[in-house]
């Protein structure tokens, strides 16, 4: 374990660590553009220069191994001047796009200018003109002038997604990032290049111009798109959720997330949500009545439930999708098994591709908490999946905890027909869908960004999600539903 000194601070690092990694561990800031923990070393930006004693020239920190006895300075005058000029060279051909660039507020050029720059620019020659709004694929837009040619995106498509769609064309200051003819970048991890791009050259078509980043707040949670459970950061403000970005977790997703997961925030926004209780009123010919307060609705449901279970608990069925937290399942199962309900069914999204894995992050099981649901069901000694429900006899009442994310349940409409044999169906869902109007009750539920709890991913790892905001005002969680069920209508059974 080599012992080194950085800025007078002694530290011991594992063998093979580069200086920039050592500084990252010690929380010492070093300016860099092209180095990324999850990618190979390029040494192209020349910003991470540090002074190593006994070396007349400054060395780049990303490619220099820490050797025992090394003394390193990152804040001497020589280093500051070199970094300032390296930044200057980056900016001389950079277009004046800050007002229209999405990266403003989280742009490394802006940040380093404030810490190392603050100079009067002397470049008064015409700048290099390249192509502006270039579409690289379905999700990513390129601005060739803003690109600082750090090659992070090229290395990403070569080493991580292994699809090699991006390359650097031409040489010198005519160099541009681009795709090859008839081969756009449409792999399932393309938006990661937008995250790693330190400037506004690569932007996400989905987030483009929607909001300035300083109007957004972040909180950390887990993606609910599939059973991998990538760690993500959700950005939101009072108008809703705007984007989802990956967080580093070596054990689960490394530094990346898939593009499908980027879309999961969409269903949490108000326009897609079920905001109020919807009841099918048979006296009015099956018309939908909206607006009954949630506690009142649950009271009625509870009364009916208790009436049924006191006579024959087998007439009640519960269908669960694995998109809710472990705590919610615990509460619901406890409440219902206490009423002697035994018929629980696990509703999977897709039998054929359920166990598939694309080699990197995305799994065929598009529910974040399958392991959690199975664990809780095992605890309460209940078993069953939707096929059994289909095969079995009809029920008088069915409580369905429907999928939050409807897009990953492609045969949802077919399953609605199946569920109809459940008699009076109480459908718990966060997102609306007109086809649900055939069910007796629709209760609005909270989405994954509004509640806290635990998801268990495919490996059995428990990860906590943390709610950060409130979108649908009347929505509740399964826990609240279960609690209200038990309380309402009098004594517990």
């Amino acid at each position: 374990m080599p012992k080194i000194t950085i800025n007078g601070k002694n530290m011991e690092v594992p063998a093979g660590t580069s200086i920039i990694q050592a500084c990252q561990q010690a929380d010492i800031p070093i300016a860099h553009y092209c180095w990324h923990e999850g990618l190979s070393v390029a040494g192209a930006c020349r910003m991470c220069m540090v002074e190593v004693e006994k070396n007349p020239k400054l060395q780049i920190a990303c490619n220099t191994q820490a050797v025992d006895g090394m003394i390193i300075h990152t804040d001497s005058e020589k280093v500051k001047d070199t970094v300032k000029w390296a930044l200057d060279f980056h900016l001389i051909n950079h277009p004046l796009d800050c007002p229209i660039c999405d990266q403003a507020g989280e742009c490394k050029l802006q940040d380093y200018y404030m810490s190392y720059g603050l100079y009067t620019p002397e470049m008064n020659q015409p700048k290099m003109k390249k192509n502006k709004v270039v579409s690289l694929g379905e999700r990513v837009l390129l601005d060739q002038e803003r690109c600082i040619l750090c090659s992070r995106c090229v290395r990403f498509t070569s080493e991580v997604s292994k699809t090699n769609e991006l390359g650097i064309f031409n040489r010198g200051d005519r160099s541009v990032i681009g795709t090859f003819e008839n081969r756009p970048m449409n792999n399932n991890y393309s938006v990661n290049t937008v995250d790693i791009c330190p400037v506004g050259a690569l932007t996400s078509k989905d987030f483009r111009f929607k909001q300035r980043v300083w109007f957004l707040k972040d909180f950390e949670t887990i993606c609910n798109g599939c059973s991998t459970g990538c760690n993500v950061t959700v950005s939101y403000n009072q108008n809703g959720v705007f984007r989802v970005r990956p967080r580093k977790n070596e054990a689960v997703n490394g530094h990346w997330m898939c593009d499908e997961g980027r879309d999961v925030y969409k269903h949490t926004n108000l326009e897609f949500r079920l905001e109020q209780v919807v009841e099918r009123n048979d006296e009015l010919g099956g018309a939908s009545v909206k607006g009954k307060p949630v506690p009142l609705a649950i009271q009625e449901i509870s009364k009916k439930l208790k009436t049924l279970t006191s006579k024959n608990a087998d007439a009640v069925a519960v269908v669960l999708t694995a998109q809710y937290t472990v705590e919610e399942y615990e509460a619901l199962l406890q409440a219902l098994t206490a009423l002697k309900v035994k018929n629980f069914y696990h509703w999977k999204n897709n039998e054929e591709t359920f166990d598939s894995f694309d080699g990197l992050l995305l799994r065929g099981d598009k529910n974040p908490n399958t392991q959690g649901l199975l664990k809780v069901m095992e605890k309460y000694k209940v078993k069953g999946n939707l096929k059994d429900f289909e095969k079995g006899s009809a029920f008088s009442m069915t409580i369905v905890a429907g999928p939050e994310n409807q897009t990953v349940y492609p045969d949802l409409e077919k399953k609605i027909d199946v569920l109809k044999k459940g008699g009076e169906v109480v459908y718990l869902t966060s997102c609306k869908n007109d086809k649900f109007n055939t069910f007796k009750w629709q209760i609005p539920m909270k989405s994954f960004v509004e509640k806290s709890g635990t998801f268990i991913n495919h490996k059995g790892m428990e990860q906590k999600i943390k709610g950060g905001l409130k979108i649908s005002k009347e929505a509740i969680t399964l826990t609240e539903f279960a609690a209200a069920l038990s309380e309402a209508g009098g004594a517990r059974a």
Binding site: V41, G43, A44, C45, R46, M49, K57, L58, N63, T82, W85, A86, D88, F89, H90, I92, N93, E122, M123, Q125, P126, M128, I148, L149, I168, N170, R171, G172, D173, R174, S175
Partner: protein
Amino acid sequence: MEQKLLMKHYENDEYASYKGYVKHDGYAALKKAFTMKPDDIIAEVKNSGLRGRGGAGFSTGMKWSFLPKNNEPRFLLCNADEGEPGTFKDRMMMERAPHQLIEGMIISAFAIQSKKSYIYIRGEYNESYKIVEKALKEAYDAGMLGKNIMNSGFDHDMDVYRGAGAYIVGEETALISSLEGLKGQPKLKPPFPAVQGYLRKPTIVNNVETLAAVTWIITNGAGAYKKYGTEKSAGTKLFSVSGNINKPGVYEVPLGYPFKDLLENECGGMKQGFNFKALIPGGSSCPVLNKEEALKSTMDYECMSQLGSMLGSGGVIVIDDKQCMVDLLKVLMHFYHHESCGQCTPCREGTGWLEKLTNGIGAGTAKLEDVGLLDKVARHMMGTTICALSDAAALPVISFVSKFRDEFECHVREHRCKVKGKCHAQDHH
């Protein structure tokens, strides 16, 4: 006096063919080398004081001794890219004596125990490529290449590889990248090519002249080579002299030869009507020497570096007093801007900036501060990049501006060229 050690038989047209080469003791050195042990050959070359003739001037024997002592396959690469402006000696060597190079390469390969070597010729040298290819075929037919050369038990294969028009592949790691089929961009060092080079195996990259000199050294011994030249710069060097002189061309003189003699004797002095003004001693990447410095200089590594310049590749560019220094710098800056590979930022952006500034000064549209800015930008481009192209672009700028500042300022202040006397509105590039 010219000392034709390598160039002895270049006037003879037959020398390029195998038959003609063998007539003049061709491949005798190889025979002798096979009687020596590889380590002894390395020691001999080290002893001779031979330094890399491509520009860096690093001791060849020492470079060879950096190879790791393991059983990994090694590669020998001959750098025939010759991109340095002002240099054309390698072209002459390949066209007049390809077998001298091939023999030198086989000896060197035997010394470093390499079974495969490549000659990387720049794409523009069409003639050289054809001649070398022909010579390789002749060598294979004569059994000088392939399996069990001269019954020594040593196998060796050699191939020619053509470049595609980039100066940057003259840099050794860029050459290796290009040979591997990648974009010809330099790689980060460390790891050095001697440890991890072509296909991540130990690789030695040497210049054409260096490898050809090995032939002579093995034939005549290290002691004989050391007799020529100076103590630290042993042997002879081929200088490509160009400019408005009476006899431009390639001349082989011992290192330490005074430049004054080279100009007056070998090159026949300046042409009628032209006076000597400045000298670029080793290709355009070397700082310029003004008249006084040049006339008292000797052509060796030490003297040149003492005067603040470099011997480099030996591309001697003689500048006369009818040449505007700003014009010359414009041409050089355009060259470096065009040839920068674009990998690292200071060079990619800096070369463009230097060209634009120089063009502005030349056209008379610049401000006086731009002359100082030119110098400042060049100084900050040095020492911070992956390879030395950035330094190669910056050094001429710094030396031109410091030694000929009056010409630059005349362009800016008076909007006219000091040398040509004309105003910029008239034709002046």
